[in-house]
């Protein structure tokens, strides 16, 4: 296991992972924690990760599982701290991001994962169903429900365009 090789992987792929985690958790701090957790697992299992047909997909899978696992853990007894809203930075206009995160936050975690996999990671219904251990019908139903909810939430904002 070579740290330099792992560091190169992180440098190349952390952006993808972080953006997915950001959409899943809707918080920069939680996203960072989630990505670190997924990457730490990748570090431990590096020989297996690097031997995978698609190491990036492999780590994305670990990230999704870690997200859902954490959600389940929190929902089974722990009381989460209040979600800290994303704070505007010196980046491009954050209004749309803030609105999107607020809307995503309203979704059930599993519905959010379905939407992120389908519309951010471009996974098929079949792949999404497999990765989330749902039936394809469940993926479609959750997707429809989430889109309906997002549409209602986002049309109340000043978002350009619509969904």
């Amino acid at each position: 296991m070579q740290d330099s090789e792992f560091a190169a992987f992180v440098a190349a792929r952390s952006g993808q992972l972080y953006r997915s985690a950001y959409l899943l958790t809707t918080s920069p701090h939680s996203a960072e924690d989630l990505v670190q957790a997924a990457l730490a697992k990748a570090y431990v299992a590096w020989p297996r990760v690097r031997a995978a047909d698609d190491p990036v997909a492999y780590v994305h899978g670990v990230l999704i599982n870690a997200f859902l696992s954490e959600r389940r853990r929190l929902s089974s007894g722990e009381v989460p701290l209040a979600v800290t809203p994303d704070t505007p930075t010196a980046e491009a206009d954050p209004t749309e991001r803030l609105a999107l995160m607020a809307a995503l936050r309203e979704l059930a975690p599993l519905d959010r994962a379905v939407v992120v996999l389908r519309f951010w990671e471009d996974r098929s219904v079949a792949d999404t169903a497999r990765d989330l251990r749902l039936t394809e019908a469940a993926v479609k139903n959750r997707c429809l429900r989430a889109l309906r909810q997002l549409r209602g939430l986002l049309t109340d904002t000043t978002l350009p365009g619509s969904i």
Binding site: A7, V10, A37, S69, R97, K140
Partner: protein, 293 residues
């Protein structure tokens, strides 16, 4: 759902994620540090040559002992798809089960978590009990089962307060032909064992251990290690032993966080090193055999 909905939401995601700052350096540093800690906690053996030798000698000389090292084959870095400039991940259509670095064989390392929990409960000193344990592997990688076998992750309650216990039963890969037990242990004289996970080489740790004792047999060959170290207030105690073509590892910590990070849950871990060693060396771990299929 129609196509326009699909494209519109994609556009919203794209716009929202544009110019998002990514703390790459922090992610790498944090993941590496946590990964080292996890690897140290969970892996059994590293370093094929020296460790194989250590395992083989242990197997030859100590009745309980057998086993070998992790010889994860190195197939070379898989080719990755080119990064999408937008930062959008590639479609993960190829989430095939990863290549296994060794051939799985049935053995005591297949013991279900519930069975491990029952057996561990009988080994704990008076006043220390298992208050909960993980029944499923909720963080499995793509293609991996969520069944928890060979791995007990439990929360203990004890006089000093709550804490964590992990027991890992690990198959040593490919005992034959790579790890042929030598008829004459002297054949392994001169083998460098300092890089193995059973040594107290500082390179094996992310912080300096307060206790590190390599267990050796009559011939001076290592077959186990006892370690205690403290990081950010969390004390971790570990006993690892080569045992019957595998490894038994038992660890405790005074943290009930998933990664054994602060805050601490008690002043001390729920088991002393002696108590932990008694747990790790029990034959109850290795006398289990998988049911015939």
């Amino acid at each position: 759902m129609n196509l326009s909905e699909y494209d519109d939401l994609r556009d919203v995601f794209d716009r929202a994620m544009t110019d998002l700052s990514v703390p790459t350096a922090r992610l790498c540093e944090g993941a590496t540090r946590t990964g080292r800690r996890l690897r140290w906690r969970r892996r059994a053996l590293v370093g094929a040559g020296g460790l194989a030798a250590a395992a083989a000698v242990g197997a030859f000389l100590v009745p309980l002992v057998g086993g070998s090292g992790d010889t994860a084959r190195d197939p070379g870095m898989a080719t990755e798809p080119p990064a999408d400039p937008s930062g959008r991940p590639s479609a993960a259509s190829s989430a095939e089960p990863p290549t296994e670095p060794f051939v799985a064989r049935p053995g005591y390392w297949d013991m279900p978590a519930q069975e491990m929990r029952d057996r561990a409960a009988g080994l704990l000193p008076e006043g220390v009990t298992i208050s909960s344990y993980e029944r499923k592997n909720t963080e499995h990688a793509p293609g991996e089962s969520d069944e928890m076998v060979g791995d007990l992750r439990a929360t203990l309650s004890g006089p000093s307060g709550p804490g964590s216990l992990e027991v890992g039963l690990i198959q040593s890969p490919d005992v034959e032909p790579i790890f042929t037990i030598p008829a004459d242990p002297s054949a392994l004289d001169g083998v460098d064992l300092t890089s193995t996970d059973f040594s107290c080489n500082p390179a094996n740790f992310w912080v300096k251990p307060t206790v590190c004792e390599t267990l050796t047999d009559a011939q001076g060959q290592p077959y186990g290690v006892i370690i205690e170290l403290t990081d950010a207030g969390v004390t971790t105690r570990t006993v690892k032993l080569i045992a019957n073509e595998g490894v038994v590892r038992a660890s405790v910590a005074n943290s009930v966080e998933r990664k054994w990070t602060p805050p601490t849950s008690a002043a001390e871990p729920p088991l002393t090193l002696d108590q932990l060693q008694a747990v790790a060396t029990s034959a109850t771990w290795t006398d289990w055999t998988p049911p015939a299929k």
